[in-house]
């Protein structure tokens, strides 16, 4: 075999090794452990389906998944709306490229602080005696503090939208920047109004960006546990939180089974997104 025929394999080797060691192997381990048995202090190698059985047949699991899907759907819709809005403004209303880049960087500034800090900062703001309630009360808009602001689904969704919108902005901004401006002019010449240009030209061409952003947001929200725990004050559950609890109680096989189920569901969601939009064709 000549070197030139070997070359592609050699080029693929580093990535293959990295993925095998850090992706395939851990997932295989989790898959294996998910069939093991356990008691309150130990896990032992076995091949049982009880972990899956207990997970799938428990109404807690179903409620938790429904709750997680609810968060995912709401957060996805909001981040898409806000993300597209911001990206559209940056791409079409800011004329100079320099200014576009500057403003885009401004969008990323919150990301210079840690995820946890950005989330926790909401707590004193939204609390019963927090800034928002105090301000509203001193302005006379309300005379009782609004309780739903913190430790509620509202708080969870708010924090998630805050944390994840940039994951929508970036890919959508990227695709919008690639749209040939001549197409928009052509549409206008052909008599399309603003709304028609948006729905018939821009959104279809922005689909790959929307799809990539959606994959980010959906996978992040589906796997989240810390935001849900902190912002709901431990009153709501998500799939990730359920797993974290199981791990804390040394129920590794149950957590592994849960992880496998979540992985399959998330892959199905990503698969569905990719069926709607062919990312590779349109990039």
């Amino acid at each position: 075999m000549t070197l030139s025929r070997l070359a592609p394999y050699l080029q693929a080797t580093p990535l293959t090794l990295i993925l095998a060691a850090f992706l395939v192997l851990p997932i295989a381990t989790i898959a294996m452990v998910s069939f093991w048995d356990y008691d309150s202090i130990q896990i032992f190698p076995a091949f049982v389906f009880t972990n899956y059985e207990e997970t799938i047949t428990s109404p807690v699991t179903w409620n938790t998944y429904i709750n997680t899907f609810k968060y995912t759907l709401i957060v996805w819709a909001l981040t898409l709306l806000i993300g597209f809005w911001v990206a559209y403004y940056l791409a079409f209303h800011i004329r100079s490229t320099t200014m576009q880049m500057v403003l885009f960087l401004v969008c990323t500034i919150p990301f210079l602080t840690s995820n946890i800090i950005r989330m926790i900062s909401w707590i004193p703001f939204l609390g019963r005696n927090g800034l928002l309630n105090q301000t509203l009360m001193s302005m006379g808009i309300i005379n009782q503090p609004l309780e739903f602001l913190l430790f509620s689904d509202f708080a969870v969704v708010l924090a998630m939208v805050h944390l994840y919108t940039l994951f929508m902005v970036t890919p959508i901004f990227n695709t919008l920047m690639r749209i040939d401006r001549a197409l928009i002019e052509a549409a206008r010449d052909a008599g399309a109004n603003g709304w028609q240009i948006l729905t018939n030209v821009i959104i279809p061409l922005a689909k790959p960006g929307i799809a990539i952003g959606s994959i980010f947001v959906v996978t992040l929200v589906m796997g989240d546990f810390i935001t849900v725990r902190f912002m709901s004050g431990g009153q709501s559950a998500s799939v990730g939180l359920m797993m974290a609890n199981q791990i804390a109680l040394l129920q590794y096989p149950a957590a592994a089974a849960n992880a496998m189920i979540l992985l399959i569901i998330v892959l199905m969601l990503v698969g569905a997104i990719l069926r709607v939009v062919n990312i590779r064709k349109e990039l």
Binding site: I41, L150, Q235, S236, L249
Partner: protein, 428 residues
């Protein structure tokens, strides 16, 4: 959600300096014999981890100064501690765990029992931890009482002994009796019973802790106080009792009685300090932390009694030779008074009271242990004023508090079922 604060990693330079100084001291003062051995000549490091309450840097510093043993401390939450003991047996030398955790993890065989003959102050340890009775007349409380998991039958045994033997699983370090913390300025009524947390006036302003083995005991105290159920043994509920308790909790949660559930010390402090809750399960140093912000907070004694907890030091199975000797030396030092006084000054109780008393002023002792009014300002171990002259601590004397324990934190026979139902409550 594991918070890790590894501290006291002494650099090589500091270590060399310390070793040289201590070596010089030992060589120069050849007459110094016996306790304490200066370990600095042959530096020994003990890796200790445990729940935040007793992983105190000041203790590590004092230990270094007195014994030359470097303590590397890691603070984790209760769940992470149990995991670590069972799954990473070689990652620690000393495990600072609670008695209910001990019941869960000791049978895993990663800890070795200690020979009480090598524990200098064994006979002075508060009898709660040996016979289970504070005074000969007292009744042993429900739950995982420390004496029930305090001893095993032999040096290699994993079976808990019914009565004290020569082999102790944990050397008690720190214990206390818990109730509710309240905001006296916001509750607006006297709080006397565990059921008072269910008062509709506190709707959306209460919290209990979300650590199943502890939370269930608070829940049990509340349910029994409210007349929902009368338990055979709160510390070892039947499935039916667990169901009744959890169903009641779910109903209460759905009615919006709780504001949040907390899992870590600082969460409980923040909930209380911010006024999000006005009455909640709390640990006594958390109350002190709220008060140190200048916010009124009281640790309220309740008629039905306290839920008690206790922790102790366990030795890793792998310890042997010089390290094992050092571990014993460390434990003997721990019980010799300085640490005891330090812990007592935080409002906790220490295992050997006679040595602690010698390290406290008579006024401090009278305030913390006898429940008498302070003659002068009472300072925290860091030197901050905690109580001004004339103040009286919550709950009275040691005997009144530890004598009114209704139950201990516990692991039940139906633990797995309980945890499953508890998760249902949290997810409900």
């Amino acid at each position: 959600m594991t918070k890790k604060t590894t501290s006291k990693g002494v650099s090589r330079r500091q270590l060399l300096k310390g070793a040289a100084a201590a070596g010089g001291l030992a060589a120069g003062a050849g007459v110094v014999t016996g306790f304490p051995t200066i370990w600095a000549q042959n530096p020994i490091t003990l890796r200790q981890f445990g729940t935040g309450v007793s992983n105190i840097n000041a203790i590590a510093e004092k230990c270094k100064a007195d014994l030359g043993i470097t303590l590397q401390m890691t603070a984790l939450d209760s769940d992470a501690v149990s995991q670590r003991v069972v799954t990473q047996a070689n990652s620690f030398d000393i495990a600072d765990i609670e008695y209910w955790i001990c019941k869960k993890v000791f049978p895993a065989g990663t800890l070795q029992p200690m020979d009480v003959k090598k524990i200098k102050y064994y006979d002075d340890i508060v009898p709660i931890f040996t016979t289970g009775k504070l005074t000969p007349e007292s009744k042993i409380a429900q739950g995982t009482a420390p004496n029930t998991v305090g001893f095993v039958e032999g040096p290699d045994s994993k079976t808990f002994a019914k009565a004290p033997t020569q082999w102790m699983t944990l050397i008690p370090t720190i214990y206390n009796a818990d109730t509710f913390g309240i905001r006296p300025d916001l509750v607006g009524r006297p709080i006397k019973n565990w059921k008072d947390i269910l008062d509709p006036a506190f709707k959306g302003k209460t919290s209990i802790l979300n650590i199943p083995s502890i939370g269930i005991m608070d829940a049990a105290m509340i349910c029994e106080s409210a007349g929902v159920i009368k338990y055979g043994d709160k510390g070892n509920m039947t499935k039916a009792e667990i169901d009744t308790t959890i169903d009641f909790l779910i109903k209460t949660k759905k009615a919006g009685q709780f504001r949040a559930f907390w899992k870590t010390f600082d969460e409980s402090v923040n909930l209380m300090a911010s006024g999000e809750v006005v009455i909640q399960s709390m640990w006594s140093p958390a109350v002190a932390a709220v008060r140190s912000k200048g916010i009124p907070c009281v640790y309220q004694p309740l008629e039905e009694g306290y839920r008690a907890w206790g922790g102790g030091l366990g030795m890793a199975k792998h310890l042997k030779g010089a390290q094992l000797d050092a571990a014993y030396e460390y434990i003997n030092w721990y019980l010799s008074g300085w640490v005891g006084a330090y812990l007592n000054r935080q409002g906790y109780y220490s295992a050997v009271l006679s040595t602690a008393e010698k390290n406290m002023t008579p006024d401090e002792w009278a305030f913390w242990m006898l429940g008498q009014p302070a003659k002068a300002d009472i300072l925290s171990p860091e030197g901050k004023v905690m109580y001004t002259a004339g103040a009286v601590r919550d709950g009275g004397s040691f005997k009144e508090r530890m004598g009114a324990v209704a139950c201990w934190n516990s692991v039940m026979d139906e633990d797995r079922y309980m945890v499953r139902r508890w998760n249902e409550f949290i997810a409900a």
